[in-house]
Symmetry: C2
Subunit: 403 residues, 2 copies
């Protein structure tokens, strides 16, 4: 995922701590505590985070006023004493809009502060054969419609993020290269209706990983998320944050060498994982010809039917994955390896060989096979992640909304 970070690591002089910063941080602390631990009374929040009830009251007042929290009825605790009043994330407050462009579809989704999807659209669209401008125009309409629907639900969109299946420029404003769309050097903001604010761009695989982090079930704050998009990409989440690498090229799992003398790869090297487990390689080995509208579905169909070359190709891909992931496990030691994107649906046929290989190769340390699992979100991950990016930002820093 060669996507450089738009804001380089601010390693130099940090910003000073001020009283406003302190307020800001405590607002975030209260909000994220409620987000993490369901409905909670002021006193419960205070006890949990270490602030006084008075301080929490003041912070909660501000969050209520901003429409980020709602106060429910008194909740009977069963114990003696005055019952507290339940505080929960507002389901009609700020929301995030996620957008997605695929080769054959457009997607839009709106999530509320709780992370619940409230609007969901996925419409077929033959984007490869149309100019980018037209595609983006249609996407903007879908975005506008979704925004209207959100408004009708009482939600206000605080930010929009477009999941891009390709490589972004260092400033995150250009799609350098998205072969599946036929885009090269496209700047979406230029083709966006002037009346609407253009969405922020982020790599699809990265968003899938973040969705997995935030709503993937098993909590794991250090994970590797694998997806097929432009080649094979692994997005790395480290300590709960997306890790892009020093130059933005971290997670190039597709070009990890599997067999040093293997077939030559399009990148120029030999024996890259992509030559064994990449979409093109698997399709060819499975004997799938021509261009299917949904090549993955074609593979799944054949695998279900027990088509021998397909099963063999998937097993071979799984083995190669296992070898490449051995490197990833030995180097990064993630708490979870998630098979996302198209690989989610192929997991039943990929996982056995991957698990066998990993179990045989990862020996210097205890290896739990459950570390490797298919995504719970599957293809919905990137779109969901795009929408969640905004709401997560609000939760980690609510003050951004009013100053």
């Amino acid at each position: 995922m060669p996507t450089a970070s738009p804001a380089a690591t601010p390693e130099g002089p940090r910003r000073p701590a001020s009283q406003q910063g302190m307020r800001r941080q405590n607002l975030a602390l209260v909000l994220s505590t409620v987000a993490a631990s369901g409905p909670l009374s002021r006193a419960a929040v205070a006890g949990r985070v270490g602030l006084t009830r008075a301080a929490v009251s003041s912070l909660v007042d501000e969050l209520l006023g901003a429409g980020l929290l709602v106060e429910g009825e008194t909740q009977a605790s069963g114990k003696a004493g005055r019952p507290g009043r339940a505080l929960a994330l507002h389901d009609r407050g700020p929301a995030g809009l996620g957008l997605e462009v695929g080769p054959a579809h457009l997607g839009a989704c709106v999530v509320d502060l709780r992370g619940e999807p409230r609007v969901w659209h996925r419409v077929p669209a033959l984007n490869r054969s149309r100019p980018a401008e037209q595609v983006l125009g249609e996407l903007a309409e879908l975005a506008a419609a979704s925004t209207r629907e959100a408004l009708a639900l009482g939600l206000r969109i605080e930010g929009a993020v477009l999941a891009v299946p390709g490589v972004l420029g260092p400033a995150h404003d250009t799609v350098e290269h998205a072969p599946n769309l036929g885009w090269h050097g496209v700047v979406p903001a230029e083709h966006w209706p002037a009346a609407l604010r253009a969405p922020e761009l982020e790599n699809e695989a990265n968003l899938g990983a973040l969705a997995e982090l935030w709503r993937g079930g098993e909590p794991a704050d250090t994970l590797v998320h694998i997806s097929a998009e432009t080649g094979i990409g692994a997005a790395l989440v480290i300590d709960g944050r997306l890790f892009r690498g020093a130059a933005g090229y971290a997670g190039e799992l597709g070009h990890v060498p599997v067999h040093t003398d293997g077939p030559r790869c399009s990148c120029g090297a030999r024996g890259c994982l992509e030559q064994y487990a990449g979409a093109r390689a698997v399709l060819r080995a499975a004997g799938v010809r021509g261009t299917h509208r949904d090549p993955v579905a074609a593979l799944v169909d054949r695998a279900r039917e027990g088509h021998a070359p397909t099963l063999a190709a998937l097993t071979r891909a799984g083995e190669a994955f296992g070898t490449a992931l051995t490197s990833a496990v030995n180097l990064v030691d993630p708490a979870a390896i998630v098979l996302g994107g198209a690989y989610t649906e192929l997991a039943p046929w990929l996982l056995p060989a991957m698990t066998t290989e990993l179990t045989a190769r990862v020996r210097v340390r205890p290896w739990d096979p459950d570390t490797l699992r298919p995504s719970r979100l599957g293809r919905r991950g990137p779109l969901l992640g795009a929408a969640l990016l905004t709401t997560q930002r609000v939760i980690t820093d609510p003050a951004r909304l009013w100053d």
Copy 2:
């Protein structure tokens, strides 16, 4: 480096921001600004970090009082206006004590706040053939002597860290396994004189990486540091912090697969890097027999003499390194790869093949050969890092000294 973190990631509810915390953070901000940018006046610090001069004055007063900063004479700026008074890190303030146990030596060093080594001892000692208790007793004496010397220089030791060439237990109080020392399940604190405070333990390779981060010349806050100690270890520094992985097993470069069907490794897998570039493998391929006191020196001697099998073995090791590092580069995308420890001295013979291999294999992204470089610190790295760990902690949170 299977060393679990003693303090797990505090992902849950963080601590609230208080006014004391604000003070604490700003003290650290001022101190680290002075540390990073040489002598600076109060006004210069204020301008740089964004605090008012008044606030900086108050913070500086506290740091002067604590003996962390010294005020120099007025420094003529050449420009109009009253000249500022230079503030610099105190060279007679808090200091860090680093300790080291190797198979054939003991080491101790003291660094001042500026990171300058002020006391340095490296004494030969045949530690493999002696019981751990005796070794640690001698080390404690060396530590006490070093502390006395530091005291004579006006330094006060604020913490001691022991660099261990092996695997630590999860609580970082036990040496689970240090084959080069013949230690298994040793708890150094139990053998330490009761009168002295036992040192904290940290893995030698990790400390080498930190030393490289803090005093390695080219600044790079995301780096891979390779060293040979127990097998081949890569310590990962990510965003300026040591990355241990979810379970503490990150950086097991030695067991990254190089040839899937290669020779069986001691770990049970096949074709691990260690089978090509590990100390034992290289020594055998070079035809070095018996147990040298310093096997690396033996290799360097033969390589200098042009001994063909040695040169071939080193080239082969370099190639294998190149392949394994291709995985590391593609996955982690570090700003620097540093050849540390014993490999520093072998760098002249390893680097060419490594560079060739990396240049040929890393193709999906721009690859700068200068990313790979030998350590400037070499074998001194771990000991220096052990001492620096304490002073760096003081600089990043000076308030720890008085509350």
